[in-house]
Amino acid sequence: MPRLAGRVLLRGVLLIGAIYFLIPVWWLITAATKSSSQLFSSSPLWFGENFSLFDNITAVLTRQDGMFLRWMLNSVIYAGGGAAGATLLGAAAGYVFAKLPFRGSGALFGVVLASILLPTSLLVMPLYLLFSSLGLINTMWAVIIPSLASPFGVFLARIAAQESVPDELLEAARIDGAGEARIFFRIALPLMMPALLTVFLFSFVGIWNNFFLPMVTLNDSELWPAMLGLYFWGNQPSELNYHFVITGSLLSIIPLAIAFIGLQRYWRMDLTAGAVKL
């Protein structure tokens, strides 16, 4: 424990950090309570004269026949479905790499890891052409299918299997005559579950933030995720649509922010922290 002067200094550092992280969020909250014209006439970090938050929310929810809610629902479908699938497929592959290694499994795992380095732009264009020829462009599958194969998910699930499934337990189950598939689904998967929830959360956020791929593969605005919709609302900056963009942005981050704070203990950063052996 540092001395008093040191503690005061460290608290000061943390306070400055917290202000830096929170100011933009505070700005967003106050800005969402202002009409577009008030945005320019009032103090930027405080509320304006008229409280227009509910007018703004109504404006966002009713614009283009409730398109915003449709976009939020799409985002939930893409991120929820994609993350659930990616976690399950990643868990199965990660378990094999951790607990059933075989000749060449190191190389196979290496290929997956290396693919993390592939730039999105390298994959998006061929995927666009591939999906076009399969008639998948402008369908939800164009966003969901690529989300299901998550190299980072395999990487994390392998660590999850390593740390939460004891070899002795697997041996005991084998001696009792349990089949390998049964061992995975009945013994390993439940043991990995808490760590897999972390994998799910990381995948969920990753897909929720996805922007490049839906931008290229979805023309139909009915299918857009919230990120893409808000991007297009903000694409033509004009005083007439600022309140849509600002209030929409605030509404779009509320579900995720609540999930973050509510599920805080499931964000297991140590899953990645010790992952690199030097």
């Binding site: 040191g6 503690r7 608290r11 550092v13 943390l14 950090g17 917290a18 830096y20 992280f21 929170l22 933009p24 700005w27 945005l39 320019f40 930027p44 497929l89 199965a92 592959a93 378990y95 075989f102 993390i116 380095l117 592939l118 730039p119 999105t120 732009s121 390298l122 994959l123 264009m125 052409l129 299918i145 194969a149 190299p151 089949g179 061992i183 956020v205 922007f211 490049f212 290229v216 990120m227 893409l228 808000l230 991007y231 694409n235 900056p237 963009v245 600002i246 942005s249 779009s252 981050i253 995720l256 964000w267 950063m269 140590d270 990645t272 922290a273 992952a275 690199v276 052996k277 030097l278």
Partner: protein, 319 residues
């Protein structure tokens, strides 16, 4: 094991090897059962597109007399030459390299400092600070960029207003500053995430090490520098590695800011440049060559970093 054999004694003597062999077979079957779903998709969304891009980068569309359509002909490395000489690729690469050289170290030093501060203190305030730092990670890159666009824009920005009161005119979205304005958005989004990765490595260090060092007369600063920082080196390497990959991929933030800043061009970052050529100019061959070069560059830089990190830690360990 359910089969019954008439000669039990014989069966008993061969049973173990037979069982072991069938167990090996079962394990092999299980491996493929568990690996196939992931690898089938992986093949479809990673390897197939990669192969396609590699092939496509070697072909070009020969324009017919009218300039519409044309036949596909082998072009050798011509697309690669065009990618280097006549596109925004190199400009974009230079920009993200400069960006990464400044932003990644700054972000990770701040993250390390905050993690050490949270680790050294007790009480509710450090917990609150941790949560505040993590909150921006819940804000997607697109939203973060929209949010900061308003915080940079004259008229809505508290910072521009503040500088104006002391007589300084700043343009966060102008030529000189816009790259660093993007760097600030990325730093704001990712510092807390990286801080938590480093912090969780810190909490894994056995407390006895600190007590032993304190008995030897080491102060808090000395303990932080000589014990904590070296022991979280793997977490720092990992966060640096992923930050490098993220920097090369820079796309959402500049794409959003482009609507608010004239200083951001269509090919501002490598990913944007590839997209511009592929979908703006419909020149798939050149776009594929650009993307392949970008992938090679990413491999060189990120593995180069890993080798450097490894060399540095082994030298430290040896001395």
């Amino acid at each position: 094991m359910t089969t019954t054999r008439p000669e039990m004694s014989v069966a008993a003597s061969v049973r173990r090897p037979v069982r072991r062999a069938s167990a090996r077979g079962a394990r092999h079957k299980a491996r493929w059962l568990l690996l196939t779903p992931f690898y089938a998709l992986f093949l479809f969304v990673f390897l197939l597109p990669l192969g396609y891009a590699l092939v496509e980068s070697l072909f070009t569309e020969k324009k017919s007399g009218l300039g519409i359509g044309g036949e596909r002909v082998f072009a050798g490395l011509a697309n690669y030459v065009t990618a280097v000489q006549h596109t925004d690729l190199l400009g974009g690469v230079g920009r993200v390299l400069l960006f990464g050289l400044v932003q990644v170290p700054v972000m990770l030093l701040v993250a390390l400092g905050l993690a050490l501060a949270v680790d050294a203190l007790t009480g509710t305030f450090p917990k609150f600070a941790r949560l505040a730092a993590f909150l921006p990670y819940a804000v997607p890159g697109v939203i973060a960029a929209i949010l900061w666009a308003f915080l940079y824009m004259r008229g809505t920005s508290p910072f521009v207003a503040f500088f104006a009161t002391v007589g300084i005119s700043v343009d966060f979205l102008g030529d000189d500053l816009v790259l660093w304005s993007i760097a600030n958005i990325v730093t704001w989004t990712w510092t807390g995430y990286n801080m938590l990765v480093i912090y969780s490595a810190l909490t894994g260090i056995p407390r006895e090490l600190y007590e032993a060092a304190a008995l030897d007369g080491a102060g808090a600063w000395r303990i932080a520098m000589s014990i904590k920082v070296p022991l979280v080196a793997p977490a720092l390497v990992l966060t640096t590695f992923f930050s490098i990959v993220g920097t090369v991929q820079l796309y959402a933030e500049p794409t959003v800011l482009k609507s608010y800043s004239r200083s951001i061009t269509g090919g501002y970052t490598p990913n944007m440049a590839v997209q511009d050529v592929a979908f703006g100019l419909n020149n798939y061959g050149v776009a594929a060559a650009m993307a392949v070069l970008l992938a090679l560059g990413t491999f060189v830089v990120s593995f180069g970093f890993l080798r450097l990190a490894k060399a540095m830690t082994t030298r430290k360990a040896a001395s």
